[in-house]
């Protein structure tokens, strides 16, 4: 790796002041697992990395509100999320997803904020968090704003975050009365980067599906919702027809995990399976 400056500020204000909106070679660093890969490959040569390790408990905690909403600090390690009793109760799909997310060692180090800020489309958590309606809280010198996870990543490795802005926490609205599932399809081992990830989240009221959210990742340029498939499902379409709608709608692209034609077939089948898993044991009218 090429040499760089590493600074370890002790407060958020200090950290923001050390970022440089005009220099893309100045970036925040959480656990560093993804950045290290890019730096070792020579793809990213930082001038300065701003470590968020010293920012204190505000950025390392998992808190559940009285209504069941979750606030997760950006520096929470993926392994911490996976093991958290709060997460396992309030949003179990996150813990289930993490089991095949890279490996135990990477999850011991990688952070949720870094995972999202990285903007890599081949990640398991973005479609899951989109399906759960999650938002990131981002801070910059001009203040704080919330960005829905579905709007965070704009294109390949490009996010909506400004050059002097960083993710401080993740907010997940209450999932009470909602059910969710994530299905990951890999071309090699189970813990490989996904060829496709499909997440669904929905409520069931009076034996009818309400407010479904269907999100995919790894097969499109960014993780995204599939609104036509969601509308079809709300309108009473079968799980299979909802999958067909999803496959027709998704702007699928190919990569070395699979061709676009192959992934499009996967989308249809996997959406159907994800719905079946989320609704296991639930009776639906019609």
């Amino acid at each position: 790796m090429t040499p760089f400056e590493l600074v370890e500020p002790a407060s958020l204000g200090e950290a923001l002041a050390l970022l440089d909106p005009d220099d893309p070679a100045v970036r925040p660093i959480g656990g560093g697992t993804a950045l290290m890969l890019m730096m070792k490959a020579g793809f990213f040569e930082p001038r300065r990395l701003v470590s968020l390790r010293g920012l204190g408990p505000g950025i390392t905690g998992i808190n559940e509100g009285a209504d069941g909403a979750l606030d997760i600090g950006a520096m929470v390690r993926l392994g911490q999320l996976e093991r958290s009793p709060v997460i396992r109760r309030a949003a179990p799909v996150i813990a289930e997803t993490l089991v095949t997310h890279s490996n135990v060692r990477v999850r011991n180090v990688a952070t949720i904020g870094g995972n999202l800020a990285h903007g890599d489309p081949h990640m398991d958590l973005p479609p899951v968090l989109i399906a759960l309606g999650a938002e990131v809280v981002a801070a910059s010198p001009s203040g704080e704003r919330r960005i829905a996870v579905e709007n965070l990543v704009e294109s390949y490795l490009e996010t909506a975050l400004g050059g002097d802005e960083l993710i401080t926490s993740l907010h997940i609205p209450s999932q009470r009365n909602r059910r969710a599932a994530y299905i990951k399809v890999t071309a090699r081992s189970a813990d490989d980067w996904p060829a496709l990830g499909v997440a669904v989240s929905l409520a069931v009221e009076n034996r009818a599906i309400r407010a479904p959210r269907i999100a995919i990742g790894a097969a499109t340029e960014t993780a995204m919702r599939l609104p036509k498939a969601e509308a079809a499902l709300t309108g009473g379409a079968s799980w299979r027809d909802t999958g067909r709608e999803a496959a027709a709608e998704a702007p699928v692209i190919g990569d070395h995990h699979g061709s676009a034609a192959y992934k499009r077939v996967l989308v249809g089948v996997t959406v159907e399976r994800a719905l079946r898993r989320a609704l296991a044991g639930v009776e639906i009218a019609g």
Binding site: P3, F4, L6, E8, G32, R105
Partner: protein, 160 residues
């Protein structure tokens, strides 16, 4: 540019140490080049193979993907420490008795991940064993013996 080096202090295999490191140095570089500890090896360099595993505050990390400065204040254990008292660790004994290696290149990583596994799940299921070790690769293919070794190690630790 040249980045200034800094002094980090951490506990290495039970004793307090300091090291002069530059920000771009990885933990494995410091362990091998600074401390002569060669049990952790950089093999894939991408956190996939597990050969560079060390325990940091009791949990496995890929030292090839870990900035050395982030080890400041941590407690680090490498495979060299396991038999520090002159006796093999039960996990090491179990790997020998089960014949859970051939060339041995990956073995330190498997042994250390097994330590984290058994610390968190003293009586692991087959699924838990495969889960914790899924990020460690053995090119000799001794996986069946490794799974047996982990079960044997769990029994050895349970009876201590």
């Amino acid at each position: 540019m040249t980045a200034p080096s800094r002094t980090i202090a951490f506990t290495l295999n039970g004793r307090p140490v300091t090291a002069e490191v530059a920000p771009h140095h990885t933990l494995i570089e410091v362990l091998r080049d600074g401390f002569g500890l060669y049990g952790a090896r950089e093999s894939c360099g991408q956190g996939l193979c597990g050969c560079c595993t060390v325990l940091l505050d009791g949990r496995g990390v890929s030292s090839c993907l870990y900035l050395a400065v982030f080890a400041d204040g941590a407690e680090l254990v490498t495979v060299e420490h396991l038999a520090a008292g002159g006796e093999l660790d039960p996990v090491q004994e179990a790997f020998i008795e089960a014949g859970a290696f051939q060339c041995g290149f990956c073995t330190p990583g498997f042994v250390l991940m097994t330590k984290q596994l058994l610390d968190e799940h003293p009586d692991p299921s087959d699924d838990q064993i495969r889960h914790y070790l899924s990020g460690n690769l053995c090119r000799c293919g001794t996986y069946p013996q490794i799974v047996e070794a982990v079960k044997l190690a769990a029994r050895k630790r349970g009876s201590v």
